[in-house]
Symmetry: D2
Subunit: 463 residues, 4 copies
Amino acid sequence: MCGVIGIIADRDIAPELYYGMCALQHRGQDAAGMLTFNGGPKLKKGSGKVTDVFSADDIRRLHGNIGIAHTRYPTASSNNLNEDAHPFLVYASKRIGMVHNGNLTNYYEMREKVKKRGVFLDTENDVELMVKIFAYEYENSSDAFHAVKQLMQNVKGAYSVICGIEDVGLLAFRDPNGIRPLMLGKNEHGYCVASESIAFQQLGYERIRDLEPGEAVLIHVDGTLTAEIIDQREHRPCMFEWIYFARPDSMIDDRAVYNARLKLGFELAQQFKHEVDVVIPVPDTARTAAMKFAETLNVKHREGLIKNRYSLRTFIMPTQSSRETEVNIKLNPIISVIEGQRVAVVDDSIVRGTTSRRIVSLLRKAGAKEVHFLSTCPPITNPCFYGVDMPTKEELIASDKNVEEIRKFIDADSLTYLSLDGLKSALKKENPCMACLTGEYPVPVESKEMALVATSRTNARKC
Amino acid sequence: MCGVIGIIADRDIAPELYYGMCALQHRGQDAAGMLTFNGGPKLKKGSGKVTDVFSADDIRRLHGNIGIAHTRYPTASSNNLNEDAHPFLVYASKRIGMVHNGNLTNYYEMREKVKKRGVFLDTENDVELMVKIFAYEYENSSDAFHAVKQLMQNVKGAYSVICGIEDVGLLAFRDPNGIRPLMLGKNEHGYCVASESIAFQQLGYERIRDLEPGEAVLIHVDGTLTAEIIDQREHRPCMFEWIYFARPDSMIDDRAVYNARLKLGFELAQQFKHEVDVVIPVPDTARTAAMKFAETLNVKHREGLIKNRYSLRTFIMPTQSSRETEVNIKLNPIISVIEGQRVAVVDDSIVRGTTSRRIVSLLRKAGAKEVHFLSTCPPITNPCFYGVDMPTKEELIASDKNVEEIRKFIDADSLTYLSLDGLKSALKKENPCMACLTGEYPVPVESKEMALVATSRTNARKC
Amino acid sequence: MCGVIGIIADRDIAPELYYGMCALQHRGQDAAGMLTFNGGPKLKKGSGKVTDVFSADDIRRLHGNIGIAHTRYPTASSNNLNEDAHPFLVYASKRIGMVHNGNLTNYYEMREKVKKRGVFLDTENDVELMVKIFAYEYENSSDAFHAVKQLMQNVKGAYSVICGIEDVGLLAFRDPNGIRPLMLGKNEHGYCVASESIAFQQLGYERIRDLEPGEAVLIHVDGTLTAEIIDQREHRPCMFEWIYFARPDSMIDDRAVYNARLKLGFELAQQFKHEVDVVIPVPDTARTAAMKFAETLNVKHREGLIKNRYSLRTFIMPTQSSRETEVNIKLNPIISVIEGQRVAVVDDSIVRGTTSRRIVSLLRKAGAKEVHFLSTCPPITNPCFYGVDMPTKEELIASDKNVEEIRKFIDADSLTYLSLDGLKSALKKENPCMACLTGEYPVPVESKEMALVATSRTNARKC
Amino acid sequence: MCGVIGIIADRDIAPELYYGMCALQHRGQDAAGMLTFNGGPKLKKGSGKVTDVFSADDIRRLHGNIGIAHTRYPTASSNNLNEDAHPFLVYASKRIGMVHNGNLTNYYEMREKVKKRGVFLDTENDVELMVKIFAYEYENSSDAFHAVKQLMQNVKGAYSVICGIEDVGLLAFRDPNGIRPLMLGKNEHGYCVASESIAFQQLGYERIRDLEPGEAVLIHVDGTLTAEIIDQREHRPCMFEWIYFARPDSMIDDRAVYNARLKLGFELAQQFKHEVDVVIPVPDTARTAAMKFAETLNVKHREGLIKNRYSLRTFIMPTQSSRETEVNIKLNPIISVIEGQRVAVVDDSIVRGTTSRRIVSLLRKAGAKEVHFLSTCPPITNPCFYGVDMPTKEELIASDKNVEEIRKFIDADSLTYLSLDGLKSALKKENPCMACLTGEYPVPVESKEMALVATSRTNARKC
């Protein structure tokens, strides 16, 4: 998924970018990078969490008034054993850096196209392709909006982009369908553009508004702001932001994530037909929906599963195979909550079904009399080509099994998926991108991309 | 606080000890160590989390049938810049290793005493003193229970100890008041002794019972178990285990932590006299109590504060002083939950008052109409000498301010502390150790120890 | 300076490349990188020594039959806080990777030129520019020799380049003046191209010959070799390879380094007119010349200065300023060798003069009666634009001082520089590149490059 | 072997101790540690080189006026997976820290003895035993010389010890035979005690004298010095210091190491009966002897073997077995020096014979017509019990083979060992410890120690 942030101000912005990355860390812990301009560009990026990549020294050296930063979601290791962390920087007449959240669906076609005029890429990273197309157009026109327009006419997919342009300013734009989030904040020192409003709250910016689909916003070094709709189509924001990705305290496309999650629980409650004694969430994401679900049904809400927050390494050991299910160190049931109860367990989604099956088994071993499984996300039947890391279609349990078959597989007493209508109602969005639920893709996908996603779980290009 | 675990089995126990430490990681992330016996002893310890200290190679090398392990709570750095991680190992006729959770209250007196017969310590760590006294008595008697008895007659304080004795077995004992927890589990391969029952659940041991105050249990290498009450006084278990330290899914001294926390919320609800629109917990510990509090009062329960789970470094930066309160990156309010509401916020305790004041301020900025603060722990008026890391008496806000003064300091509309009776009722314990609330210390404290704790925030000896 | 190596064989070559980099480690310890092809490309690079950058796992993952590798000389940190380590890889129709030793003298001009057709660079590294020009020409012609020809017609400077081309083979070429070394080796499994013959010795390749100035050699995947002189001018090999850079056990351009160094000592002896009691080298490079110098003059040869081989950090400490000269931890005199003696000390060169002055002072303090200083390199009066890291002209002591003035500065009793004729005679080269000694540059240097080197000590582009 | 250093001065000595450890780094790169007193003690130790263990922050925190430090030689990993680095610190009435170079020969006997009065050790490290015996005697007498006397009456072996005693001063002593070196230096700020005089040269201390065998020296905090011969026997300094361990620029027991090494070469020349064309050393230690050897015989002296200074990891790889001898990356011949020549190669010693055989083979492959091998150390026939890390007796090639058999094994044309008389003459010592050459051990060795060294290559207790 990735998180992006850009700031332009009348003072040094490196510390703010650092804290901004921390606030967006939940969107990606695999790599982090920051580019600032203070006259010339300064770049630091690397693999790991923000606090692993940046030292206090780095933040001092990255002193500047314009800057962009990125936190990257783990992707399968590419051929390039080095991390392809963002930002990408090009040495055009004006140095230009770019970060991006999303995924292009015609990457290979465009790579061939630019290759024809002698532009060879160093990586297989979307953002390198985008920044080089953008720089080419900007070089010839010195017009950022013109360059965005040319870019939008060429690349397809989901992209929320922030650019720093040397001596010019900070540019941000969002694809014509506005699939990935991007929003604008302001304080007395300058502007901030970020993936989620949590960054504004934590850095002391007032949230102004979301960028519109296909809109570009340029904040000039003199502090003035110019905005232009470049190419607007139907707004199709990714429903997974509210279901799973975004922090509960963020506001995305004018819909508070927390309220959306409460409503997911309310809608689930409308669909649920069984009698239960206790409602428990699978921590942490589903907690909000479970809370409202229980409230609506007037059933006891309890924490029945405790998550171990400390990452741990898994060893292959002689004695282990026999205990595989015993050592369930990541998730542990509270016996006193579950024993002898009819339990409704609420999770955010069911992907392969294996985790859900393990949870049901855990609850049964802890003495649950009945286990009713609920998912705030409708059945996932198709892969995502817009930047969400998912298994191949074959691995998605809902791609070839119906609800009753899935219920049997996870061994639950009942299984309730939120309906598509319930989902739309919860998000208060008429037509969010639900391609992974319906197979209806708002932006066309080139065949090579399709083939690639069909056979490998992840690709290195995903932001 | 620290977590301790020991295992004796008919197979290699190093992997289990590793996972056991992971399960007890919440009791201490500062250092970790493991000692196993396979004939001779093998020891590895170091600073950091379990996964930082141990590699897969270490676990292989630590192959053995008897073993003890420890996770250590952060303490102020001592004069010894190296970490004084547990276990401590002595080369007596039988090699003996020891881990411990607690704090001695006559350490300096005992150190002088052993010095008189030429025993000089290498560290200022309680456990080194204890293992050397124990080894001396064991060397002369070859009787573990006798040695424990001699130890108990000499050292004062809170201690839950596990020992591995080469070729002999695994020994565990608890101080005469049973201040710190320690319990016994069993499966078909052997026995496990640990600070919390979560370790049993995750490693596949059945919880048998808590050790009694002043009891010693020895599991011999042949698998037989001998237990003896050495010196039993009134059971005074530390009330903070249920309020804050233990994992919610643990059972301690026959009282489930989760149920105790629910009851804390229930008892708080009996005391609360104000009308509010929404109840929010300060995550994570107070969540359970807040849930039951809201349920009891029939008020909406919401997550109004989101915690950033990613640790971050704090920089001193030129622009920062002006924004100090803005960058509140650890805790962030959900505006939509709070705005315009009368909010009851439930926390586990109030120590210095500064965090509570910051939380009230955060909520007011987020638009709360009223902020009512509740603490599941009664006013903390005195320091702990039994292993809980606390500020000096002067720094404890309740040491010289009454409730109304504290309310003013934190700027809340009301402030409700759980009563002592409410606490006892929630824990279902007649007489828990509440020395930090009442100043009534169940075990006497030598004057040097008192002076030390009075002037410095922490000392290196704490378990 | 940097070291380069490429191998193509009928078996996995990653381990050989690893050991080859170790053999060339003396040419650069700042960064290391390796690219292999096994069908698709695999790349790993990073800052530090070879053993810091590569794990055994990396070597396994880099499995392939064609590969190139690079060790990089420390350069001043560039704006890009990430290391610009080689190899550089481009995704043209055939993936192409490149490593390089040398420096371009028309980099900025060429960067502008490619920018005009929309090719923007990501770094300020010569090799990125070269691989992109090469890839452009290769893409359109599929003819490696044609592409090299186009490249040679455009870029100016010193460059010894090795390319891996996916499914095609291994390509190596040397600039028209052959300034930097590059040579060809062979064994029964394949071919190796490297900066120095030491790599052949250590990997079991037979040294065939040096590449000629302006020659390109292509070894195809089928094992056949094609060679072509693309653009040959006078051979001007850098004299510093024999004086300082190369390992003494290497053979470069048909002249054994060890023999050349012996001859440097012999030639120095012809010029030296003073009576001395003992000859000592400044370790390690000057040892060979000093040995022959002493032998020729029939004077005792001793080690009078011992080098501390362990790198150490320098602290800024309150007590230090007063002891600055005392703590001379890198070089230490052997009193018994020096005390009361007339000492001839032989070094490889005098750059700023400050180190030489410190050495003379050390020897005097150790009791030397007279100190005669000799340099196997003639006075360095001009900066290098072909890849040797040197101070600016102002900092070069010989740029504005004559020999007598330098002698006074370093406080020696006499100072003898090897003559230009002596140097040529030692190298057995008629016309080596001696631009830094004479100011006569064999390849023109663009004005921006000149300005840059004139004002800053190093630039990030140097191989 | 290990290096020790202690300083007491009227100013902060932590930086000096740091640089002192760097100067003694050649005596041990496995671990390093420093203890200082500034009132209370401050200790830092860890595994790795000095620069790995200590940060600038550590040096600041270790601020003090009395201090001791240690660099430790690699030993086989003990049962204790943590490093047993020195110094060891005990909390007696005065805190006492100790470092040591040497090895006890009645460790197990003494360990039993102290165990009898209840003193149990935490490690299997000599120095822990010594500091605890010392502390016991010092505690009861407050008389450092008395305590040293008691210690000397109890422990046997080789030991050069430095102690820091809180508020009292710096104490140093050497075993009654003076097997390991220890010397005293002075400047206007205070005193320094160290293993080698190189430390004095580099820190600006004047070398006063070596400690005598069995002498103790105490420098009080007021700057006064008291010395006393506690128990003096025949001086038996380890001959290996001059042959191999010490830095060439050190002076040990009044004999300059460099001069001794020259003399080793001279003596070898007296014994050598063959005609050769060139003399080459095995770098680095044998270089001095080879130089004098060649000079004496009036034969050409050349560097024929070049050492790769960069440490490298060795991989086990499929293709490697076939190339095992090819990849000789640590030592490489200079063909032009060796080809067609009758070569005399001088090494410092022959231990197992395998390295010598490999060197002969390298030289033959490089074209040597004849290879004559010389060793400046006579045949090593017995293990060392005084702190030199050696293989077991069975592994020592000279333990059961005569010179001719060894010559055949290493495949040399001739083999010349320096004679015992030649060795004594070179060292200018009448009766150095040559136990490893003669089996005559100056200090008795307890049987358990003997058994241990007989079966395992190293033990963790050494220095």
